[in-house]
């Protein structure tokens, strides 16, 4: 079988159209790969940040140049064991997929490199054309053992068929290079997009019924607003898709005209803020966001002056949008509850994690008028500490320290108002705090003696919790702001 030739110029043009801003990389790749029958460099490494188009471009080019039995594409996320990697490659190159028709059985069982190589040798058309194996998310390959990648890089030698290995990763090559030396790859770098390229890419998705200029002015603002925090194409696209309907809304209910872009932005400003707050962190899901938009789509905008209590309340203030955005501020408060004593256990762990052990006696000794004493003690010590260390090595900045359970229990019993008996229940609650990851075990799991833990909760949470049991944690924390 003779390989058909591909018109590389045409391909270059269509790639440039699909992927604006990536012309140099496309050129470079095409130069390396050439025609299907050409021999290519044995090892390419494609590196770039997330969503810089690595996967899409490589797959596009490969599918245009080669037919599927010559290029295998492996996503290392999906193929989490060597066996899966081998079998996926063999299936793609051999063009056989288990399916319903084969009863989901497969004809290859390949567990090791040796088997893999012998299978590779036996594949049809072995002597004809070079092969390509692409490993996407290649950083995962490192988990498969130290010899896995070096062995793959010698696959051409071992099978006597020219084979090109292409790794795609967002981890630089330096982090891959094994200690005992390995063939160096040809590098292709996919840099982060600048504003211009980003705009071009985003503009590809311009809705057909919107004028391009209008859309461009919108994305340019979105880029300006969010680019400082996030230049990820996917994220930006997500934001654009969700914000654009909001942006257009005033057009439909007649509050603004298409030409009044600044006014539109003013009207939309709160959503931008809300989006930066919530949407980016996915604290509010896009479905919720959309559901929200859908209510206020043109056509049923009558509910603007409806009797909806939330709306009418704020429209008196003459700012219906404000209410909308506020409405989006879904409460993110902590809404899980713990049993009473479990809360105290958590508080005690927090104290044990952030207070130095040597001060326990001062804070928690059940002496006369303990609070005033400890407060005074606290200030004195604080002063002394400040002069010594300048407060630089504050535990608060260093993160939680691990503590022995016994110490935590001692604190626990001393901060309780009414003493309780030590029972199995307390122990089991500690265990359940660990399951909930509110406490993290730092000692070995097999060690039953002298268990050590860390407290894994934030100050806000612990304050909230201690507030709910009327415990003033501020008075018991040392050197904490």
């Amino acid at each position: 079988m003779t390989a058909s030739t591909v018109n590389l110029t045409l391909l270059r043009r269509s790639a440039a159209q699909r992927f604006p801003g990536r012309e140099p990389q496309v050129d470079q790749l095409l130069r390396y790969l050439g025609q299907p029958a050409d021999t290519s460099p044995p090892f390419l490494f494609i590196y770039g940040h997330e969503s810089t188009g690595k996967t899409s471009i490589v797959r596009f080019i490969l599918s245009e140049i080669f037919d599927s039995t010559h290029a295998a594409y492996i996503s290392c996320v999906e193929c989490y064991t060597p066996r899966l990697v081998f079998e996926h490659i063999l299936k793609q190159l051999g063009d056989s997929h288990p399916s319903f028709e084969t009863g989901f059985l497969s004809n290859v069982k390949c567990d090791s490199m040796q088997e893999f190589i012998s299978f590779m040798r036996r594949l049809d058309g072995a002597h004809q054309l070079p092969r390509y194996i692409v490993f996407d998310n290649a950083e995962k390959l490192r988990d498969m053992g130290p010899t896995f990648l070096p062995a793959f890089l010698r696959i051409a030698e071992l099978t006597d068929i020219p084979t090109t290995i292409i790794l795609i990763s967002c981890v630089p090559w330096d982090k891959f290079r094994p200690r005992n030396g390995i063939q160096e790859p040809l590098l292709v770098r996919f840099p982060i997009y600048g504003k211009e390229d980003t705009m071009k890419i985003l503009a590809l998705k311009c809705p057909s019924d919107e004028p391009l200029d209008f859309y461009l002015s919108f994305i340019s603002v979105v880029y300006d607003v969010f680019s400082r925090n996030c230049k990820d194409i996917n994220e930006l696209r997500h934001l654009v898709a969700l914000l654009f309907p909001k942006f257009c809304e005033p057009l439909f209910d007649g509050r603004a005209k298409r030409s009044e872009v600044p006014k539109l932005f003013r009207l939309c400003q709160t959503y931008f803020a809300a989006a930066a707050d919530k949407l980016y962190l996915r604290e509010i899901s896009s479905a919720e966001w959309l559901r929200h938009i859908r209510v206020r789509r043109p056509g049923d905008d009558s509910d603007d002056n409806s009797s909806d209590p939330e709306d009418s309340g704020t429209s008196i203030l003459g700012n219906p949008i404000e209410s909308d955005a506020l409405h989006l501020r879904i409460k993110t408060k902590l809404d899980f509850d713990l049993p009473y004593y479990t809360k105290f256990l958590l508080i005690a762990s927090f104290l044990a994690s952030y207070n130095p052990a040597r001060l326990d006696v001062r804070f928690f000794s059940k002496g006369k008028e303990s609070t005033s004493y400890s407060k005074r003690g606290k200030q004195a010590i604080q002063k002394q500490m400040m002069s010594n260390t300048g407060g630089k090595h504050r535990q608060q900045l260093l993160g939680p320290k691990s503590f022995p359970i016994e110490r935590m229990l001692a604190i626990f019993y001393s901060i309780l108002v009414d003493p309780i008996e030590n029972s199995i229940e307390i122990q089991s609650q500690i265990a359940s705090l660990v399951t909930l990851r509110l406490l993290v075990r730092t000692s070995n799991a097999s060690q039953l003696d002298g268990i050590k833990c860390k407290c894994n909760v934030s100050y806000e949470l612990i304050r909230h919790i201690s507030h709910s049991v009327q415990f003033e944690i501020e008075n018991y924390l040392f050197d904490f702001i």
């Binding site: 999906e78 497969s106 898709a241 479905a287 049993p339 030590n422």
Partner: protein
């Protein structure tokens, strides 16, 4: 009384496994009664268990519906998003529902099974509930998911084509066979590709209806391995377009944990919505409301046990499962240890009385015959029974008869007492709900206590003595007439089917009867014969009044009032006896007092109300500032009496259980046992065992030495060492310890050799070390460190 002989004792007992029930009363209990107790326990508990399950199902119902609806909706929304927003597919977001179900993971099992069940049956989804323990790496997890789903998918295909019933499977087997002959003999690797293929196949089979949704439930999200999660999410999001997948995260803590567990680029692949489904407190409330308060099966919990139950739940673990176990233990202990538990059927509400029918059914009469002398003695020994008997004020001879004649005691006293208890409970249950709705009428949220707390108050002391009751009634007085009327009406409606003028319910019946008049009065359509003052008087009497009496009385009173100005006493006097003759007199001693009652009533009625009214109104005006203007004078009179009437009503019905005779028998209150069973105190037990071995080892010699602290050679080695240990300081010299040990053991008449002693010493201290009392140290040679301080 013993004429209707029942054949119970003749029934040959079926072979019942008594599962360890012992003969009580020093082994004198009859086999029949043991079997009965056991049977009662099984039946009562299984009935209660059933009710608990119903309660849980009820509480879960709404939440479940919400959850399943939401899962379906988001999945659908995903599709519509991709159609409305251009390029949205590129996000590859997986619709995810995070479910906050409270911190008690064990309780969630039922919940998730129910969710899965519902999704399967109502929406034909494929649901996988993933246990975190088994999902430790991507491989096992994917294998589990894929193999399980494929199995299901195949079932589905086969089911859908039931016109060729059976052929589907055969067809598949044929495929497998022919594939095998072509060399396809490796079992599938259960990766995502296989799953996708299956799905494609499934869709091609029936292209009309949309492909079913796959729901993966991560039951305890916190417990999952983070990198496994990450891999799973990335894989499924990659195939979002081909496989409709939804996730459910069961989160016990807060949303933060998703962000904590997953890096940003992974969490942005999820489209998370949250639902709060913390049902355990609600479940417990319902269990208390439906099961513990009414005590339908004859047994309730007393104050201490009930408080213990609540404390365990709210202070310690939030676990419904633990609560149910404790409850079961209480019931088990009751039937196991209390010979009188056989009486329970007779205080149960009639529709649920256990063993009312069936082979082992029994009646009071048959039971009375089966009970031994000791049963009756135990009965008479109950403090409340003694109090009751003393309160009877019987002449010595009659009292002796009661004490001596079991049947007399049983029939004339025990029966009515049990009836009374049953009525008390019934009225209590109804009234406590009324009281709760009374709270609801008030505005202050601080007054709105949950039923379980009111019940707790009430078990502790009579509710009307508590501050809470006073606060509520006070707030209630500020409400407008309509609310009050409606509230009274609802109370009356709740009670009417359950009261009659006979027996124990009489006082409550009278009050309800009066409340009816009060309602009429408040609605400005009073019964012409009744005035607020008559109501008040009738309320204040403390006697049994039967229906006929009452009618008589009311007309009589009216007659007096009408003729009141002429103070025509004689006409009234004539009216009274005719009223008296009508009802059957139950207690003989009342008949003479009846006259006094009427007399007192009538004299009360004769105080001309007109004189008192203005002053009273003034007082009321202060109470009801904002209502006075739009109320008629009559209504003001009525509303005042309404308050009194309600007060009386609650005083009557919401009494503390310990004022009711026989309460010891039907209110379980062994908190200590429950604590011992469920709140083990390992440390304390170890210390007692070592310090007072006699409590655990019942040997003769231990019984002989009385002083607890003395160290005796016959004690176990470890105990001796422990006692010596208590006298030591922080560092213990092993040699000194050994010397002290041998000198004590010298008293042993067997005279153990020094070698043996040394071996026993070593064994003893290693036991102490194992128990955590000492620890070796490098600080000083031949020393160990003491790890405990005193008796903590």
């Amino acid at each position: 009384m013993l004429h209707n002989f029942d054949s119970v004792s003749e029934v040959v007992l079926p072979h019942v496994s008594l599962s360890g029930f012992r003969k009580l009363i020093n082994g004198k209990e009859s086999d029949h009664l043991i079997a009965l107790r056991h049977q009662l326990y099984t039946q009562v508990w299984s009935a209660i268990r059933g009710e608990i399950d119903e309660c849980l199902a009820h509480v879960h119902e709404k939440g479940l519906q919400q959850v399943t609806d939401r899962i379906i909706q988001t999945a659908e929304a995903m599709e519509s998003i991709s159609s409305t927003i251009s390029g949205a597919q590129a996000f590859n977001e997986i619709p995810t529902l995070s479910l906050f179900a409270g911190i008690n993971l064990q309780d969630h099992d039922i919940l998730y099974t129910q969710i899965a069940q519902r999704l399967r049956t109502q929406h034909q989804c494929f649901v996988m509930v993933l246990p975190s323990g088994q999902c430790t790496n991507p491989k096992t997890t994917m294998t589990m998911i894929v193999s399980e789903l494929i199995g299901k998918v195949r079932d589905r295909i086969l089911l859908d084509h039931d016109d060729v019933t059976g052929i589907g499977e055969v067809e598949f087997q044929n495929l497998v066979r022919s594939a095998k002959s072509q060399g396809f003999n490796v079992p599938p690797s259960y990766d995502i590709k296989t799953l996708v293929d299956w799905f494609r196949h499934l869709k091609s089979r029936n292209p009309t209806d949309g492909a079913p949704l796959i729901v993966l439930v991560f039951k305890d999200f916190e417990g999952f391995d983070q990198s496994t999660l990450e891999t799973l999410i990335r894989i499924f999001s990659e195939y979002c377009g081909e496989l409709p997948v939804s996730f459910v995260f069961g989160i016990a803590t807060s949303v933060d944990c998703v962000q904590q567990a997953l890096p940003k680029h992974v969490s942005s692949l999820l489209q998370i919505e949250s639902i709060n489904l913390q049902l355990s407190a609600e479940s417990v409330n319902r269990i208390i409301d439906r099961i513990l308060i009414p005590g339908h099966y004859g047994l309730s919990l007393g104050y201490e046990a009930y408080e213990h139950l609540l404390d365990q739940f709210f202070l310690h673990n939030f676990s419904v499962k633990a609560l149910v176990s404790t409850l079961q233990y209480a019931f088990m202990d009751y039937f196991y240890a209390n010979p009188l538990s056989v009486l329970v059927s007779f205080v149960a509400s009639p529709d649920r009385a256990p063993l009312a029918t069936g082979e082992l059914s029994y009646t009071l009469d048959s039971l009375a015959r089966d009970m031994a002398e000791d049963h009756f003695d135990i009965l008479r020994m109950q403090p409340s029974v003694r109090e009751y008997l003393e309160g009877l004020d019987l002449p010595a001879k009659a009292l002796f008869a009661v004490l001596d004649d079991n049947m007399l005691f049983f029939n004339d006293h025990l029966r009515p007492l049990m009836d009374r208890l049953r009525h008390f409970r019934l009225h209590y249950t109804l009234a406590i709900r009324c009281f709760q709705s009374m709270q609801e009428c008030c505005d202050q949220s601080s007054l709105k206590k949950p039923l379980r707390i009111i019940h707790l108050f009430n078990l502790n002391e009579d509710l009307f003595r508590t501050e809470h009751y006073k606060a509520v009634t006070k707030a209630f007085k500020r409400l407008n007439v309509e609310t009050v009327t409606d509230f009274i009406r609802s109370c009356v409606e709740a009670f009417l089917p359950h009261v009659n003028d006979q027996g124990e319910g009489n006082r409550v019946w009278v009050i309800i009867r009066m409340l009816q008049d009060v309602i009429r009065g408040l609605c400005n359509e009073p019964n012409p014969t009744v005035t607020p003052d008559t109501v008040r008087m009738i309320l204040q009497t403390d006697r049994t009044i039967h229906q006929a009496d009452l009618e008589q009385l009311l007309t009589g009173v009216t007659a007096t009032q009408q003729g009141g100005d002429s103070s025509d006493q004689s006409s009234v006097q004539t009216a009274v006896p005719s009223g008296l003759s009508a009802p059957p007199m139950t207690p003989h001693r009342n008949s003479s007092m009846r006259n006094d009652l009427y007399m007192s009533l009538l004299t009360g009625a004769n105080r001309t109300p007109s004189a008192a009214t203005p002053q009273r109104i003034n007082r009321r005006l202060m109470v009801l500032p904002d209502q006075s203007q739009n109320l008629t004078d009559a209504q003001i009179g009525w509303i005042q009496v309404a308050y009194e009437c309600l007060d009386q009503f609650f005083r009557r019905t919401l009494r503390c259980y310990d004022r009711v005779t026989l309460h010891e028998l039907f209110y379980y209150d062994n908190k200590r046992l429950l604590k011992k069973a469920f709140n083990a105190q390992p440390r304390a037990s170890v210390q007692t065992a070592l310090g007072q071995p006699g409590l655990y080892i019942r040997c003769q010699c231990c019984a002989t030495h009385k002083e607890v602290d003395a160290i005796h050679h016959s004690h176990d080695d470890t105990c001796v060492l422990y006692k010596l240990y208590l006298e030591c300081g922080r560092l213990i010299n092993l040699y000194d310890w050994f010397v002290a040990f041998s000198s004590i053991k010298e008293g042993d008449p067997r005279h153990p050799s020094p070698k043996e002693l040394q071996a026993r010493f070593v064994r003893g201290i290693s036991e102490l070390q194992f128990l955590g009392f000492i620890k070796p140290t490098t600080r000083k040679t031949d020393h160990v460190i003491r790890l405990t301080w005193g008796a903590m």
